[in-house]
Symmetry: C2
Subunit: 496 residues, 2 copies
């Protein structure tokens, strides 16, 4: 094997670099659409973005790829190059396995379903939503079946794999089964404990001052403003590209609490992006490892750091200066650790949140196997909400099975990532404390650098060079272990 014969690999590197340039433009278009674009610009933008998506798809399914990838496998590549090649192969298979007509049919059905859902949700119109969802579900199942056959796994496993490569239904059933065995009781204990906490009013803060505070907090968390921005959108997100991370939040002048924690959360996502390995920029091995790991980083910032007593003390002087009336430290801690079963997932606290995921995991798994019909979804929902969180949702479709956008756009297999992320975050915290000592006391001393350094070395800078299991073992000594999450919740919510 001569250097020259590495040209197969070099061809691939160049090709995937091209793809990443077009994905850069796609990320910019998405961000602009959510933050800057006037309504009237939507139609032309939509057409341009569709053209771009088509072009990216054509690059990902370029006929030369199959052979070139196969040829490159025979080359004397470094371990990292091999990892990159494996990711190329994975992306190629993901893009090629589903026939173009099915992708298009699903995209159209998803668009139709989502557009109608926006109004139907407001109207609590389950009867209107149902046929669209049924139609879309048929296509989702078709896609899942095709992917399953290609990967020799079950259809729902194939959907999970899109977001958390390697994750299986069996594995999740074990993890979530464990969770289900102790979480409802823990929720009850926490609620009993918090019963005596006093009520108080949340003071006002202008949107402008919240944005200023947000930037101060991003600085504390080490967000690099030379490679990113903070803006406003109706739903907070972290977009852009690794060299220019665009995050957003929204400001409620009567309640700063969720906008502020939204920034902390999205900054966690942003730190992962900003910390991705620079030598692998634009290559499949250079992107974030998985959706659950991405969420683990946002939840590390929000849950492990952000809602902890030390961090709240750290930001208190900044916060106090923008509030119409002061909050004590205990009130602030109160706000950010209050546990209360709620109807809406995105408003849930970190203790009850996994219940929302358990329910959705069971539902989508059964929708894909066919054990649950779309028509029976509302009943399933009511029963589960009552059993898990003690809330009656009968007839409240809007705040029940119609609350999330995921299914309305045909995205199944994603929900578990949220709770897996919370578990990964707790596990990272444990491993970090073994190495660095108490995280709270480091934050208390105003120094986040060793905490961030640990995340950078163990997670961000690894990109997709390791498998998830390899990354977990290398950084924490074991694969995913939900015990750490349980310990985290008990420590924060029961022991103080």
């Amino acid at each position: 094997m001569s250097a020259k014969s590495n040209s197969h690999y070099d061809t691939l590197v160049k090709h995937f670099q091209s793809i990443s340039h077009f994905e850069h433009l796609s990320a910019l278009g998405d961000w602009d659409q959510a933050t800057m674009m006037p309504m009237g610009g939507g139609e032309a933008r939509g057409a341009a973005m569709a053209e771009l998506a088509k072009h990216i798809h054509s690059l990902k399914t370029a006929p030369m790829l199959a052979q070139t990838i196969n040829d490159a496998k025979e080359l004397p590549l470094t371990k990292q190059q091999q990892a990159n090649l494996a990711e190329m192969r994975y992306q190629y298979l993901q893009a090629n396995v589903v026939p173009g007509e099915l992708v298009e049919a699903k995209t159209k059905a998803a668009y139709r379903c989502e557009q109608a859902w926006r109004q139907q949700r407001r109207d609590n119109d389950w009867q209107g939503f149902k046929p669209n969802l049924e139609n879309l579900m048929l296509l989702v199942k078709e896609e899942a079946t095709i992917r399953a056959e290609a990967q020799n796994v079950s259809p729902y496993d194939a959907l999970l794999d899109k977001f958390e490569p390697g994750m299986t239904t069996a594995n999740l059933e074990q993890i979530f089964g464990n969770l289900k065995s102790w979480l409802p009781q823990l929720i009850q204990q926490v609620q009993d404990k918090q019963k005596s906490e006093p009520n108080f009013t949340i003071p006002n803060a202008s949107a402008e001052s919240q944005a200023k505070l947000g930037r101060e907090i991003m600085n504390i968390l080490g967000f690099d403003f030379n490679h990113g921005r903070l803006d406003i959108s109706s739903h907070p997100f972290c977009g852009g590209v690794a060299s220019d991370v665009r995050l957003t939040t929204r400001y409620d002048e009567a309640d700063f609490t969720s906008g502020l924690m939204g920034i902390v959360h999205e900054t966690g996502h942003a730190k992962y992006e900003q910390g991705l390995p620079k030598t692998w920029r634009g290559q499949p091995a250079g992107v974030a490892r998985s959706m659950a790991l991405h969420e683990s980083q946002s939840l590390f910032c929000e849950m492990q750091i952000g809602r902890g007593s030390a961090f709240l003390k750290l930001i208190e002087p900044h916060l106090t200066s923008i509030l119409s009336s002061p909050l004590t430290h205990s009130q602030l801690t109160n706000i950010y650790t209050r546990v209360k079963p709620e109807l809406i997932r995105v408003d849930a606290d970190e203790v009850t949140y996994p219940c929302h995921i358990l329910l959705r995991f069971e539902a989508e798994k059964s929708l894909v196997t066919g054990e649950l019909a779309v028509a029976d979804l509302p009943d399933f929902w009511s029963t589960q909400m009552l059993s898990l969180l003690g809330i009656n949702t009968d007839g409240d479709y809007r705040n029940g099975c119609m609350q999330d956008i995921h299914w309305a756009v045909g995205e199944l297999g994603y929900f578990p990532s949220y709770t897996l992320g919370a578990m990964y975050a707790a596990q990272f915290r444990s491993a970090m404390e073994t190495e660095l000592g108490c995280v709270e006391s480091q934050i208390d001393s105003g120094n986040l650098s060793s905490v961030m350094g640990w995340l950078n070395d163990n997670i961000w800078s690894q990109g997709s060079l390791l498998s998830i299991d390899e990354l977990m073992r290398q950084s924490t000594g074991e694969t995913l272990n939900p015990t750490h999450f349980k310990k985290h919740l008990e420590t924060r919510y029961l022991s103080r």
Copy 2:
């Protein structure tokens, strides 16, 4: 000819629609870079934009185009379709005539020259700038020669044609010769007349209040905020796409005057874009006709409307409310009609401005023919500035021949557009007044709708469906006639 055989034309329509989708993304990238992008994002953005430019170029030079365009010429097309096809052919030729290696060499030389120029200009470093410009000029001449051969015109004509299709050196020499015969004397007369005008201080206005005022004035001019935005950049420009026009300005708190008139100017560009024919969106016939006509619309807003007494009266109440101390109407008129020979083109008033263009036209024409060597440019500049505006610029390269970016990026043939635009604008005004009556008195009554309606019907909605001469004849009864410009200057600057 059956409907089916129109498929050649339909293929082209689809192809150019694709190109326009990618150009949409290019416009977004440019705008974002100038307004939103953090510095650190520049490298990756540059790579993505270069990839996009390469892709657009490959679409514009697609091998199938030559034959398909030829075949489509035989089809029974409508007159407008024929115009669209002619524009397709023109774009195809423009993109194909210059060999890829030359385009790349020129792009690189231009990039190098511009990057160095940014610092060299600050340092007044002509000796440093000269070799870069000489090198770049060789490539510009090579490009001009190739274009000239393909179009059977002179090299400088070929450069002019890129910005003002159909314009020739001979034609410009006549137009600018006429201008030169009366302008210096007129400048002298205006200066004599303005000698007695009193001096006063320009009051402060916060950047925030200037932006608010800017939006009010854009509303008065009928800018459609559902299809556009106003932002800040270091150099004002009008970017984006027709359905989402992004204009920018900059604010100087100690001197609102240029930021404000910058908005009026860019709004003129924006109105043209927003008024382009909707049925031809994404097609070559649907874009603005030429650079000079684009400038005619910005200058119509800025010069014909914006600096007129009636408009200044219209915006006075809005303006007064943001100033630290009031300005009288006569002071305001004074500010915006003050004539004074200056070193810098972009700071020039509308009377002396054409002298800056006369000089640059003579210089670039002679640089291309070889009658003027780059080394002799500073001497040429000094002589001309002294003769045209009575200013000595010996040794002041920074404010002399190094002041503009155009030559530093190898853009020759563009400068004449500015003054052609001013002449077109005056000619439109004359024709409009013949049809609608006095423009000043319409603005005085606060009604700009018939003025804007006339521009919409005669210019904006025509896109590139007519040639420039056809458009001028149809809208004003004659081709470009500099007399109207002379009359405009005399009326505004000598008769009051």
